[in-house]
């Protein structure tokens, strides 16, 4: 099968999965109709508003009609409104809130993934190559503790460590709450307003990407960039610490499996230096096998991200999910669930495509 045929086939197979995901979110969001209606009412709570919502969502129609309107609303961005009990943004459309909340989460996840790939993969390779040596034991123990450690706990411990009264030297300590210290760069500090200060669309200043690290660089504000970096590093480290174990362990075992294969023996017996054998022959194939577990890894990573966001006050989807769930704000909770699931489905697709590119054998069936 040609690569493009495979890509098209995988894209077509995506449709039932996305449909299935919406069925599940449909069932869950219609499990408590009262909460659902409240979520679509916006700021006004009245009988008239409720009747309008019931009419708009066709809640008095048969289930398939309800599903049809649910589905259309989902894909046209009509996700309801934030609960009136929300202290700051009551009545904001959920979709707008999603656009604001998504970039910080993506930023945190990407940095954490970079950590895992930069540290977890090489550790796995090293551990496989130096089997049963000190490095191997240390790595395996670290990976074991990594998968066993509660995310929220290590997050809190790191907060204590880097916090103002922590044992770290003063220059390593950071203000750890949220993304960046807005007061430091707002009107108060130098009298000049840095362009990216607008958090939620205040005073018409635009945030081009929503990614703190990118925005600050786009505006050429180096101190702010460093500040943003300082804030993202620690939560990203927490996420990476709790999710690198899976990848490292899998990389180790696929390294060991590859190193036992015939062509490695051939490569060695023809006199290639061990370094080349590992780098060019073994590692590449082990990478291929490790890609297959990336899907489950992403699901775990995002679970970790949501908890870490809550602990560090990171203004992303995870924190939104928990505050919304605590206020029984059903539409927000369902929106985050839907987004997370779609992200993972797409991540899985990309992983599959990379794998089929790395290892053409999977395209055969």
């Amino acid at each position: 099968m040609k690569l493009y045929v495979y890509v098209i086939r995988r894209l077509i197979l995506l449709i039932p999965v996305i449909l299935g995901v919406t069925v599940i979110t449909f069932i869950l969001s219609h499990a408590d109709i009262g909460l659902l209606i409240a979520g679509y009412e916006g700021k006004t709570r009245s009988l008239a508003a409720r009747l309008i919502v019931i009419h708009e969502l066709h809640l008095n129609g048969p289930v398939y009609v309800q599903f049809f309107y649910y589905f259309t609303n989902l894909f046209t961005g009509k996700w309801g409104y934030l609960s009136p009990t929300e202290p700051v943004d009551a009545g904001t459309p959920v979709f707008t809130e999603f656009l604001r909340r998504f970039p910080p989460t993506a930023e945190l996840s990407i940095i954490a993934t970079i950590f895992v790939i930069a540290l977890g993969l090489p550790l796995g390779v090293l551990s496989g190559v130096k089997k049963d040596r000190g490095v191997d034991h240390a790595t395996r123990l670290a990976a074991m503790v990594g998968v066993s450690i509660p995310t929220f706990w290590i997050g809190l411990l790191i907060l204590i460590l880097i916090g103002p009264k922590g044992p770290l030297p003063h220059f390593l300590q950071v203000t750890t709450e949220g993304q960046i210290d807005f007061l430091k760069y707002g009107f108060t500090s130098s009298g000049t307003l840095q362009p990216w200060v607008a958090v939620s669309g205040a005073s018409g200043i635009s945030r081009p990407t929503g990614f703190m690290l990118v925005d600050t660089l786009l505006y050429g504000d180096v101190p702010a960039f460093l500040d943003a970096l300082e804030h993202v590093i620690w939560p990203a480290l927490v996420v990476a610490l709790t999710s690198f174990g899976v990848i490292t362990r899998f990389m180790r075992s696929s390294m060991l499996e590859t190193l036992g294969l015939d062509y490695i023996r051939t490569a060695r017996s023809k006199g290639l230096p061990e370094k080349i054998v590992i780098k060019k022959h073994a590692r590449r194939n082990a990478y291929g096998a490790t890609t297959t577990v990336m899907g489950l890894f992403f699901a775990g990573l995002l679970s970790g991200v949501t908890v870490t966001e809550y602990v560090f006050g990171w203004p992303g989807m995870g924190q939104w999910l928990y505050t919304a769930a605590a206020r029984a704000d059903l539409v927000s909770v369902m929106a985050t669930t839907f987004v997370f699931t779609i992200v993972i489905v797409i991540a899985n697709l990309i992983v599959d495509l990379i794998y089929s590119y790395l290892d053409p054998r999977v395209r055969l069936d």
Binding site: T306, L330, V333, F340
Partner: protein, 289 residues
Amino acid sequence: MLYFLTRSPLSTAGLVITIFYVLLAIFGPIIVGGNPEFMREVLYYNGQYIYNTPLPPQPAFPFGTTYGGFDIFNGVVKGARIDLEVSALVVFSGALIGSVLGAIAGYVGGTVSDVIMRITDIFLSIPFIVLAVVLLLVLGKTLTSMVEALVIVWWPFYTRLVRGQVLTAREHKYVEASVAAGASPFRTVLRHILPNSIYPIYVQVSLDFGNVILTLASLDFLGFGFAGQNLAEWGNIIGLATAGGGGVETITSYWWTILIPGLVLLILVVSLNILGDGIRDVTDPRSRM
């Protein structure tokens, strides 16, 4: 199997610590006394009102107290029972449901398998904590709904695992022989296929005990547990440390309210994982390599 397990010092340590926690779960609440589900609350100590000032570890409170005047030692001991109870319920029901579905998918194949596996895929694509939070919102905050939510989160892992096992096992000659001898599919699966693919399920079960405890603790930490703040569950005890408000500064001053319950949790989960790895090494020597 026990003999082989105790050959490795690491697995032995895991086994011993796990047994210690199980004993703690059984006898702990009886020894420390009081309601086995809720922590002991001490509002006055030495004439001082300690609701808002956690006391550091001292003879009267070996692990100190946390916000609300809760005795951490008391809570940690009682927590063993709740955590192990919930995780046992979740893991065994999840494994049972998942294995049955996986066995059906693997043995029957065709459309049935496709449908089951697509549903499994969808459940596996939702981050498990997110799914659990949604389910708790819909089901309500009780211990039963916590167990139900975690079972709904957990079964798909087993379906996928068992299906793979059954697919491999059904190619064997003894399955063919069983079918040729006129055994019903039910009997073939139950008597011949499942027993021969059970070890990976054991391994997964032992590893999942730790995972469920972690998830339960996270959910309780986030405040999705049941019955309010005095529940003796490790995640909930850690969550209380942040209940005082004041953010980083206060938790820095009262480090023991976080460190100690977390360590108790971590030691159990690490031991369970070591034990799971040990069981895998014993049952599948190839994975040792």
